[in-house]
Structures are given as C-alpha cells and as structure tokens.
Amino acid sequence: MTRKIRVLVAKPGLDGHDRGAKVVARALRDAGMEVIYTGLHQTPEQIVQAAIQEDVDVVGLSVLSGAHMTVFPKVKKLLEEQGAGDIIVMGGGIIPDDDKKELIENGYAAELFTPGTPLEEIIEWVQKNVKPREY
C-alpha cells in the first residue's frame, strides 16, 4: 500500500520571511499531501533531523536571505551522511538564475522555484518527481 507524499517545509537560516513557505505548505496540504512545517530559524542539522524523524519523502527549503549557496549543499550533505540521501531536496526563494543553475547542476537541489511561480506548478512537480514510499 502506498501512503501519501510526506513533505517537510523548512525555513533554514535567520531570515523571517515565512509568507512563501506557509502558502506553499498549505497548497501542498490542500493537494492531499502530508505536510510538516518546521517553523523559523532552523539550522541544517535541525532540518535533517526533522526530515529523518518524520520519515518524509521530500524537503522543501525556503530561503530569502541570500544564504542559499551555503544552506542547500549543507542540507544535502548531511542527509547523505545520515543515510537519507534518497530524500529529495527542493526549494524556493530569491535565488538568482546563475546560483539556481549551479545548485541544480551540482545535485544540491532537485528543483528550485523562484518568485511568481504558480502553486499549481509546484504541486505538479512534487506529484511527478516524488514517489511516496511503500508502507
């Protein structure tokens, strides 16, 4: 039996801009996924711990402070180190095109959504690219 897709929406770093993270969390929940929201000011260690404990399929990182080049690689590396490299990392925020390319090409993020992305596009991407685990 397959379960619902489980998503961890996380706010790494120090910035408090949580409007986007909350709207996306709610949209994914309304689309039938199980969503856990970490709240603000999380360290990469806290996020990875929550992802493993909550047994999620995908982690969505929302970064608007400019710290994305530090945060994404760090979360990805910690997940791999803890044997949870199969958890998909995606994200969004104010991420310039060049940085976006670099993060995706290096495998630090599977996909990144920038301002103005329709919610529908994010939902569809998750449904297509994230396979919920079997029970």
């Binding site: 120090l14 909350k22 709240g39 360290t43 400019g66 080049m69 945060v71 104010i94 310039p96 301002p115």
Partner: protein, 550 residues
C-alpha cells in the same frame, strides 16, 4: 438630500437595467468590494470640522503640517546596506551626492538576530541582505566622513535596537557630536516581529521593558530621536490586508503607549517621539484612505483615551516604503511603474518620508542604476507632477472619504477583538495575528492562481521564454571571511577586562529594574560586540520560541 436620494435611486435603476454588474467583482487588493459610484450620500451627515478639520490641526485627517509639501517635500530616504561597513559607507556617500536627504541602514540577518559574524548561526548570511555590524569599530567605519549632526539616520533594527542605537550614540561622541543633536529613528518595534517579521530575540515582557527603557533614555538624552517606528510594512508584506495592516499597527502603537504609561512615564514625555512606518501597495485609493484613517484614529485615541495634552503626541508621523511584495521577477522593468504609482499614493496620503523600491529587488540587492531610478521617481513626483501644490488634494472626494471612514470602522472592529483576546501580547501568544495574516495571504494567492486577480507578466500578459537579463549585485563570498577576521582581531586587541566588567554590570542591571541603556552604552564604548551584549541579556531574559502555524 431627499431629492438627491431619489435621483440617485433612479440612476441606479437605469444602471442595473443597462449594464448590470456586481460590486463583489470590483474589489480592492485587500478584497473590499467597491461601489460603482460614490455621491454626497456616502458622506452624508459628516461634520467637516470633527472628521476632517484642517491640515496641521486635530484630528489631522488632511495632514500633520499646516503647509505640507509646500513648505518642504518629504524626505527621500532610500534604505540600503550590504557587505561590510566600508562598502555601505561608499553607497551612502553616493546617495547623498545624488540628493538623498536621509540615511537608512539595512543590517544583515546575523546583526538583526544578535549574532556576531563569527557565530556558527551566521554562516552564509554575513553581509548578504544588509551590512554586518559587530561592534562600535564597524559603526565608526559605516559613518566615516558623514557628519552625524547633519544627517538623520534611520536604522531598521528591532531585537537588538538598544545595542545598535548605543553604538550610533557612541560613534557620534567620537565625532564630537553630543547625543542631544542626533536625529533619526530606530525601528525598535518588537511587537510586529512576533506578529509578522519574525526577527525576535527575547520573550515579549523583557522586550517591552527594553523598549520603555529606550523611551525614557531618549526623552532625556536624545530628544530629537524617534525611539520607535511602529511598523505596518512587514505585517503587510507578510500577506495582511490594508485594514489588517492599519489595525494591527495602531494596536501595537497603543500597546507601546500603555507600556510607557505603566512604566511610570508621562505620555507627553515619550509619545511625541513615536513614529510609524507603512506600506504603500498597488491599490491606489485604498492606500490613500488607509493613511488618512491612521492619522485620525491615532489623534483621537491619544487625546481622548490616553489623555495626551501636547498636540505633538496626537500626530501620527510616518515613513512609507512601496510594497516589495507587489514587485515581480518577470519583466522586472515594469516594477518601475508599479513603484511610481505606490509612491504617488504615499505622497497623496501625506507621508513624511519615502523609500521607493528598486526594480530588481525581487531578484537580489539593487544595483546602483536601479537605486538611482527609484530615487529619481520620487524627485519626478515632487518636481514634475504638481501634486505638491495643494494639501490633501483628494480630501472631499466622495469615494476617498467613504473609504477612509470604512477603513476606520473596520480597524475599530479589530481593536475590539484584540481587546477581547486580552491585548496585543495575549493575542500574539494565541497566534491570532499570525493566523489572520496566513489566511489573508492564502486567500490572495488563491485569487492570483484563479486569475481573479491579474498580475501583469505573471499570470497574464506573460512573455513566453522570457530571459531576465538585468544586472545583479553580487556579494563577494570573501566578505564573510573578512568580517569574521575583523571581529576576531578586535577581540584580541581590545581591553578584555573592561569588556568583562561592563557585561557583568549589564547582567546585574538586567536582573533588577534599572534603565539598561547606560549599561549598554558602557559596554559598546569598550568595544564589547553586539553578540556578546545580546548573549549576556539572553542569559537573564531567555529566548522567544514561536509555535509554527500555517
């Protein structure tokens, strides 16, 4: 009036017969339905003197000065700060040379949260979305060559406001400028941090104590300083409606007034130094009505409820920033147009100072060229459009007056609700504001998704295969390393014994009830870092934790 009523009913009948429509399809950006036409019937029975009055006179609906912009236009105050103090200092000098009249400091996230640049939690964030300030040494560099008795400076800092303000005062001392001559603003609005911006440090009670300490210290030693800028800006950016921005911001303002009175201060001693900061969003008339309603509500409450006798306590003075959240990453040049309309609304609403966003801010920190266009937008409004020639040009518009009244009535409903919940801090603890804002922002996003609200270039009039090629200001990754080294070498070279004594005395004072400002000043003067001072206070006050709601 009855002739008019009859005639109007007749007109409405014809209207619905010929072109039936529904007000629910014509809503403001906040979701308020708007009627097809406003007439004298909408402002029927209004006592002009009681509700509007004259500019510079109670209740200030039409503006806080007798002559408004005929005397002096608003202050052009572009918010900026990035990388290190040295780079930001250069940007300030550039802006001043182009005619900017006030400075406004953007700090980086570690500074905002009270961490030094070499703290593990600061990793990757140093100098990213503002300037990194760790100690008085950085503050000295930030204002090097800028005479602090000649400029007014606004600092967007809240949780650690007392520390950064103390650094500014100490920096002025070194320039030979006494604190009595300093003018400017610290944001220092912790309530909206819990509500919307989420850059908190301590729990609400000790935070409110620090704020009242600042009020008392400012009244005595820095009389020209605005000791709080009660901010709706971030509440709006977090997704609130115009009415929520108005109501929550003023409710915060009342909470500060009550805290000051409770701390034993005379209301007229600190209220004249309270200032406000609002957002100016895309819905032109709704914004203008919001600014006008804000002035009237504030004046009435200050006079009638809090018994303020000094007319300066009744005045709601405000800064405005155009809405960052209205800008789009798509076709970013269109943001120049959006910002111009928003800026015009702020001017017609009677703002005292204004920041116009740069077109590229949705993508990254603004480039010099984008910042210059944003500043020029204000200068064009001031010098070319003619809107400054008369005061409150929209006063008396049936629509604007009706909307102003409506905003006021809706805000009153929220004040009632907040009171029922036990006041602002209790409402924060119950997650009331956070939930209201999350609901409003989700409703708005749904309207955009369903194309009930059109955003040009985003969900309509889209350029297929658009390639965004506007230059982006990049922060050199070396900035973080340099700043880390700087704070490390400061710790190695300063008199650490003096630092220890100052921090110990500060902690002792924090456990008691004395005013903390003189202790914080002593600590910054001997180059204690921001992180060390905040850490000392955390040991006494603890840290705030939010229950996440979405």
């Amino acid at each position: 009036m009855s002739d008019l009523k009859k005639a109007f009913a007749e007109w409405q009948r014809k209207y619905q017969e010929n072109c039936p429509d529904n007000d629910e399809d014509f809503v403001t950006i906040s979701g308020e339905p708007i009627k097809s036409l406003y007439t004298p019937l909408d402002t029927d029975g209004v006592d002009y003197l009681e509700k509007l009055g004259f500019p510079g006179e109670y209740p200030y609906t039409r503006g806080i000065h007798y002559n408004m912009y005929r005397g002096k236009v608003w202050t052009y105050r572009q918010f900026s700060g990035f990388a290190t103090a040295k780079e930001t200092n250069e940007r300030y000098k550039l802006l001043l040379s182009k005619g900017q009249t006030g400075l406004s400091v953007a700090f980086d996230m570690p500074t905002i949260m009270g961490y030094d640049s070499d703290h593990p939690r600061a990793e990757g964030e140093v100098g990213r979305c503002g300037v990194a300030i760790d100690s008085l040494a950085d503050m000295e560099e930030l204002f090097d060559g800028i005479p602090l008795d000649k400029v007014s400076t606004s600092m967007t800092i809240n949780g650690p406001a007392a520390v950064l303000w103390a650094m500014y005062i100490a920096c002025a001392e070194k320039q030979g400028v006494p604190s009595e001559k300093l003018s400017g603003t610290i944001q220092n609005d912790i309530l909206k941090e819990y509500i919307a911006q989420k850059s908190w440090i301590f729990p609400p009670e000790p935070s409110m104590r620090i704020i009242t300490d600042i009020f008392a210290f400012g009244a005595k030693h820095v009389p020209k300083w605005n000791t709080v800028s009660i901010s709706g800006y971030h509440i709006r950016e977090a997704g609130a409606t115009a009415v929520q921005e108005l109501a929550f911001t003023l409710a915060d303002g009342f909470a500060y007034v009550e805290a000051g009175i409770k701390a034993g201060l005379d209301v007229d001693e600190f209220a004249p130094r309270l200032s406000f900061f609002f957002n100016s969003h895309m819905d032109f008339f709704e914004e203008i009505a919001k600014f006008r309603a804000a002035r009237r509500i504030w004046a009435r409450r200050m006079k009638e409820k809090y018994g303020a006798k000094n007319p300066r306590s009744w005045l709601l003075r405000f800064h405005t920033q155009t809405a960052g959240c209205s800008l789009t990453a798509q076709q970013p040049e269109n943001n120049i147009v959006r910002t111009a309309f928003e800026a015009l609304a702020a001017v017609l609403g009677g703002t005292q100072s204004l920041h116009t966003n740069s077109m590229d801010e949705v993508l990254a920190l603004p480039t010099e060229k984008a910042v210059t266009i944003a500043l020029r937008t204000q200068q064009i409004i001031a010098h070319e459009t003619g809107v400054i020639n008369t005061i409150d040009p929209l006063g008396g518009s049936y629509f604007v007056e009706a909307l102003t009244d409506k905003m006021e009535a809706e805000a009153e409903k929220y004040f009632q609700k907040i009171e029922e919940l036990g006041g602002v801090i209790e409402a924060i603890n119950k997650g009331f504001f956070q939930q209201e804002i999350a609901d409003a922002s989700y409703r708005y996003q749904q309207a955009v998704e369903r194309k009930k609200r059109i955003i040009v270039g985003v969900n309509e009039f889209v350029e297929e295969e658009e390639k965004i090629d506007i230059p982006i200001l990049k922060i050199d990754p070396q900035v973080e390393e340099r700043q880390k080294q700087k704070v490390k070498s400061l710790r190695a070279t300063r008199d650490n014994e003096k630092v220890e004594i100052a921090l110990r005395e500060l902690k002792d004072a924090a456990r008691g009830t004395e005013n903390l400002m003189p202790y914080i000043l002593n600590a910054v003067r001997v180059y204690a870092t921001e992180g060390e001072i905040i850490q000392s206070l955390k040991e006494v006050f603890g840290e705030y934790k939010e229950k996440p709601i979405f």
